[in-house]
Structures are given as C-alpha cells and as structure tokens.
C-alpha cells in the first residue's frame, strides 16, 4: 500500500479523489492559501500560537474516558470515549477554526465567512472571529436554521450574521454553494473557513491537519491508559472532519481498525439517506472529486438524516481514497438506531452526545460483537447533544414550547 500519510499530492489529489474543481476566480485564492499554509505549517512561532490556543482557549487535551456501563452493556470490548464534546463550544469543530483564523490573520483578511449544517462549525467560526474582532458571516440552510435554532442564536450572540439559504434543498450543501458564491464575489478581503475535510485543495488537507491533534493525543493517551493503540476507532462521517482528525495519525498503524459511520437516514434501501460511501458513486461537488449521492445524469440528489451535520450528499475526498484502498471501513446506521443510541448513552454514561456523534455510538450494535473483552475500541465523541434536544423531543412526540 502507498504511504497514505503523504497525501494529498501537489495537485491536491488523494489517489483519484480531491483536486480543485472551482470557478476560475477562486483559483488564485486557493493558491494563496496553499502557499501561506505551506509556509506557516512548519513555522515554530505559528505552531506555538496554535498550541497555546488549543490548551488555554479550547481546553485541550480532551480526556480519553472509559465508558464502564456501556462496556458492561455490550459485554464485549472495552469502550473508551475521546471527549471532543468537552472542548470549548462543545465539539471538535473548534480545533479547525482556531487554526484557520490564524491563517486568515496571516493573510490579512478582514472578513470571515463559513457554512454550517448543525451550527457547530458556525458557532466555532463566530467564536474565533469574535475573539479577533473580525466581521463574520455564516451561511446556513433555511431548514437547518429551523432545526438548530439554539445554535443560530448562539452565532448571533457572538456577533456574526446568519444568512438563511433557501435555494435547493435548504440544507448544508446549499449553504456551501452560497458561501462559495460570497467568496467568489468578495475574494480580495474574505477568508472562507470551510468546516469539514471537503471542498477544493488545500482545504481537505488543512482541516484534517488541524483536527489531527485528536488522533495524536489519542496515541499518547491510549498508551498511558491501556498500553497499546486502540484495536478500533469509530467516528461518524458527514463531510468527515472529526473522523479524519482521529484516523489520520493512525493511517500507518495497520493493526488499528478505522471505522467511519455514515447516516443511513430512513434506511439505505429507502434511498433517503446521506451515505455516499455506502451507496454513492464518484462525482464532483464543491470543488472536489469524491463519492457523491447523485442520479444517472450527474445531478446531486436530496439527502436525509436526522442529524443536520451529516445531512450532506458528499464526503471528504480522503475518505473516498481510504475506502477504495481498504484502509478504512464505512458502515451506516439509520435514524431510529441513532435515536435509540442517543437515549441509551445519555442514560448509561451521563453523556448526551450530538445526534451526529450518536451515529458512532449506534454502530456499536454492529461492531462490538466482533471484538473480545481484552480489546479496546475508541469512539470519537465529536460533539455534545444540547443543540439537538428539540429534534429529539419532536421525534419522541414531545413539545418543549
């Protein structure tokens, strides 16, 4: 197998996937970003600045926590939780935004834009923009504005402007379209903080690198706590940034099984889901070639997931390459399994996971039986679930009004 850690190549490809499929106006900005990042990523001062922020602003390292009652419940492997939900702003998304805002600063950009689905990336972006006093605009599908109203309000409190996007399916992909259009129009003074390992090169690489702190910490913590690397790592995959961040430092550790969990929505057979790696074909969307939910004419199809953060027809190109190379496995769980798991984890562990994260927990039903009690599984708890209580209440037939 090729060395997966050295990807992408200079053109931004992970095997067949990735690239820069964007309108011409953006090519210059991508090159500028690529050059800035290449220069800064090995600059000790830049690294030190990020490390300081990760410790004192984000609250890292996040704990690796033994989930005793969940382990007892499955009576299989020992289940450990990498607690990204304990980060400032409540999810892994802040790891990326603290890094990218420093790139924006280094490039002298005065205006920050971002897309968001569940709102976690919107909050994480508005947070770092507020801290540096930069103007901030968050694009969010109108349907997501509705189902993630708590985060919308948080973003507004942080001083950013939320633009509800009505076009297309009014979800994450349309928010991305609109953010790209803003960027094309305001290219000179605007920095676009993409929130996942998606989009044109160099974004999938940059977002992965900033999230890889999670995997690096896990390497150290797992050795300290159980004297070996995990036997398997489970993470949910929408665009795939939390998964890529925890997988990446383990790509060359072939004994560590990497399992990504996609959103099967109403079920893979129903067609109403958001699982391109399980049931999509390679295609091009939002600047990169990757697995994509599309029809035979190359039109992107509507997706469905209970979780706004996974409700996206594409996936980061590096995941597509990991799938084809066989290095990672990608499975899917449906909305009902997710809801059941959300309740179970909340009651058993006193930890309320985000609905996105609950996908990784729900996968234990399929995965746990393959491991023995001497083995160790780590779940990346990508975010906390407070933002989802309205959705969960509605699904349970309750109203919080």
């Amino acid at each position: 197998m090729d060395n997966l850690t050295n990807l992408p190549n200079a053109d931004g490809f992970f095997g067949d996937y990735g690239g820069k499929f964007v309108p011409e106006t953006l090519m210059y900005a991508l090159k500028e970003l690529d050059e800035t990042y290449s220069k800064l990523k090995n600059d000790p001062k830049f690294i030190e600045e990020i490390d300081q922020d990760l410790v004192h602003f984000v609250g890292r390292p996040s704990p690796l926590y033994f989930a005793k009652r969940l382990t007892d419940h499955y009576s299989g492997p020992q289940i450990w939780l990498k607690r990204e939900d304990l980060n400032h702003t409540g999810a892994h998304k802040i790891n990326n935004t603290v890094g990218q805002i420093l790139l924006a600063k280094a490039m002298g950009k005065k205006r920050i834009i971002a897309e968001t689905g569940a709102g976690q990336h919107g909050v994480a972006t508005a947070t770092v923009a507020a801290r540096l006093g930069l103007e901030c605009h968050i694009y969010m599908g109108a349907a997501d504005v509705e189902r993630q109203s708590l985060n919308v309000y948080r973003i507004k409190l942080l001083g950013a402007k939320v633009h509800a996007v009505d076009s297309g399916t009014a979800t994450l992909k349309d928010a991305l379209n609109e953010a790209m259009r803003d960027w094309v129009t305001n290219i000179e003074d605007t920095y676009y903080i993409i929130g996942s390992v998606t989009g044109p090169h160099p974004y999938p690489m940059i977002v992965r690198d900033f999230n890889a702190i999670v995997g690096r910490e896990l390497k150290v913590q797992s050795m300290e706590l159980f004297s070996q690397y995990p036997d398997a790592i489970l993470a949910c995959v929408g665009g795939g940034s939390n998964a890529m961040g925890i997988f990446y430092p383990f790509l060359e550790e072939s004994n560590v099984q990497l399992i990504g969990v996609e959103a099967a929505g109403s079920g893979l057979m129903s067609g109403k889901h958001a699982a391109p790696l399980n049931d999509g074909e390679p295609g091009i969307l939002h600047g990169a070639k990757s697995y994509l939910m599309q029809d035979k004419n190359g039109q992107v199809v509507d997706t469905h997931s209970i979780s706004a953060g996974l409700d996206y027809p594409g996936v980061g190109p590096e995941h597509s390459n990991l799938k084809d190379s066989g290095r990672a496995d990608y499975i899917a769980v449906d909305d009902n399994e997710v809801l059941e798991s959300f309740h179970m984890v909340t009651k058993l562990e006193g930890i309320m996971p985000a609905l996105e994260t609950a996908h990784a927990f729900a996968a234990l039903e399929q995965v746990a039986k393959n491991f023995s009690s001497s083995q160790h599984i780590v779940i990346n708890v990508s975010g906390r679930g407070d933002k989802d209580i309205n959705t969960v209440a509605t699904m349970d037939g309750m109203s919080l009004d």
């Binding site: 499929f21 309108p23 011409e24 090519m27 210059y28 090159k31 297309g168 129009t185 290219i187 295609g283």
Partner: protein, 265 residues
C-alpha cells in the same frame, strides 16, 4: 494537422473578416421548456446573435447568481438532462447550420454523460465550457474525451499571469474573459481593469477574447466590445425569458438583442 475548419472556426473567421464584434447569447436549456429553448435559439440568430451558449442545468451551480440559479432549478424540474440537450441541438441543426452552439455547465453533469458527449459533435454541438475545472487542465485526464469539441476556458481578473499562458495553450475556440469578481449577473463591472487584462491575454494568444458576466445595458455592451472581440450576455436574457414564460411572447427579447447587436457593430 487539422485541415477541416469547424463551425466555430468558420464563424470566428467570418467575424474577423467583417471586423464584426461577436454577440454571444446565453440561455438555460429547458427553461421554460425545451420547445421554447429551440424557438428562442432560432429567434436569437434572427436577432443578430453569432454564437449560442446553452446552459446545462445543474443542482449546485456555484458560479451562478440568483437569476441563473433559478433558471437551472426550473429546467431541472422539467427533467432537462444532457441527453435531451444533445437531441435539442440536433433538432436545432435541422434549420441552422452555421451558428455555433456551446454547452456551458458543470463538470459532474459532463462526467456522468461522458460517453454521449463524445458523440455530441456529430449531432451539432461545437464546444464545451466547463465552469468548475481549472482552465489549464486536460479534460481527458478527468475522463472527458471531447473529441472534436472545442474547449472554451474562462480567465478571471484574479488569474495569475503564469496561468494565463497555460490556459490559452490548452484552450480552443475563444477565451471567455470574466469581467468581474462575482457570480453571473453581478454588477461590479470595471472597464479599466478589463481593458488591461484583455490586452495582456491577447499578447498571449491568437484566440479571440470575448467578455462576459455583468453586462446589462447597451452602454456596458458598447464599452466592453471596444476592448474585446465580442461580448456574452446571460443573466439579463435569462431574466427576460422567465418574465415572458407565461405568454411565450419573446419579441421584447429579440428587440433587446437587435439593439445590442447594432450597438456593438
């Protein structure tokens, strides 16, 4: 090596001989419906349009402003596929043999129809303009064998000089200069910047350079035509087509094009 002139080459030669600036008109195939698209294409030609750009609808057209986005959505609601657009061009050719037709769209739609695209030249399509692929790339590297089709590339105000040369090298037909930073139909037209950039591009290529994005009035058209080899009109036409989609009465649009055509000649 190439001995036969394509329809696009012939059109460009003929414009050059007559020292005429090209009028390129864009419309979205299937908006309001495919029959209207054919009618409009013939009407465009009768109103002085030299080259037709046929927009191929896509669910996620990131380079388009709200007017053309909405047209893409309407065309998709009518199930307009690239296959149907190839048939439409074939039908257009029953009555028109010399107006080049360029398919303008997004990479994923062309990829999904790569096989049919290869044959489409023989049905009367002349060129492709793929909005979301770097202009210097070789389409074949991404699985698109365009055979005889010309490949039109965009150059933007932000395109670096080293890339301009590369893009010109891998393009055929003409160069499409994007006059502004923005999506289609925006209004930040900067004539001085456009002139400087078009001058530079013409020092790098013998291909004609057409300017587009953001042309609304005859003044815009006249000013841009003075510094380029032709102009492209899109959003304003798409908007008018939509406004007339109930009555299907397109005379107003043809009058607008005649006015534009006369203004730049």
């Amino acid at each position: 090596m190439e001995c036969l002139l394509t329809r696009l080459d012939e059109k460009i030669l003929s414009l050059k001989k007559r020292s005429k600036k090209a009028l390129v008109a864009y419309l979205v195939a299937g908006d309001p419906d495919l029959d209207s698209t054919i009618e409009l294409m013939h009407g465009f030609v009768d109103s002085g349009v030299d080259i037709i750009e046929l927009g191929v609808p896509f669910t996620d057209p990131i380079a388009e402003g709200p007017v053309i986005q909405a047209a893409h959505d309407r065309a998709l609601k009518n199930n307009t596929s690239l296959g149907k657009i190839f048939s439409l061009v074939k039908k257009f050719r029953e009555k028109n043999h010399d107006t080049p037709v360029i398919l303008m769209g997004y990479m994923n739609t062309f990829l999904a129809n790569a096989k049919a695209l290869k044959e489409s030249y023989f049905l009367g399509t002349d060129a492709v303009l793929i909005v979301d692929i770097p202009g210097e790339s070789n389409l074949e590297d991404f699985g698109i064998n365009k055979e005889n089709l010309a490949s039109i590339s965009l150059i933007a105000p932000t395109t670096s000089k080293d890339r301009i040369a590369k893009i010109c090298d891998s393009s055929s037909g003409f160069i499409y200069y994007v006059t502004l930073r923005g999506v289609t139909g925006s209004s930040h037209l900067d004539i001085n910047e456009a002139e400087k950039n078009i001058d530079y591009i013409s020092s790098q290529t013998s291909l004609p350079i057409f300017a587009g994005f953001g042309i609304k009035t005859t003044d815009d058209a006249v000013n841009l035509s003075k510094i380029s080899d032709g102009i492209v009109i899109g959003s304003s036409l798409v908007q008018m087509i939509h406004e007339q989609s109930e009555s299907r009465e397109y005379k107003k649009i043809y009058d607008y094009l005649i006015e534009m055509s006369e203004a730049i000649s």
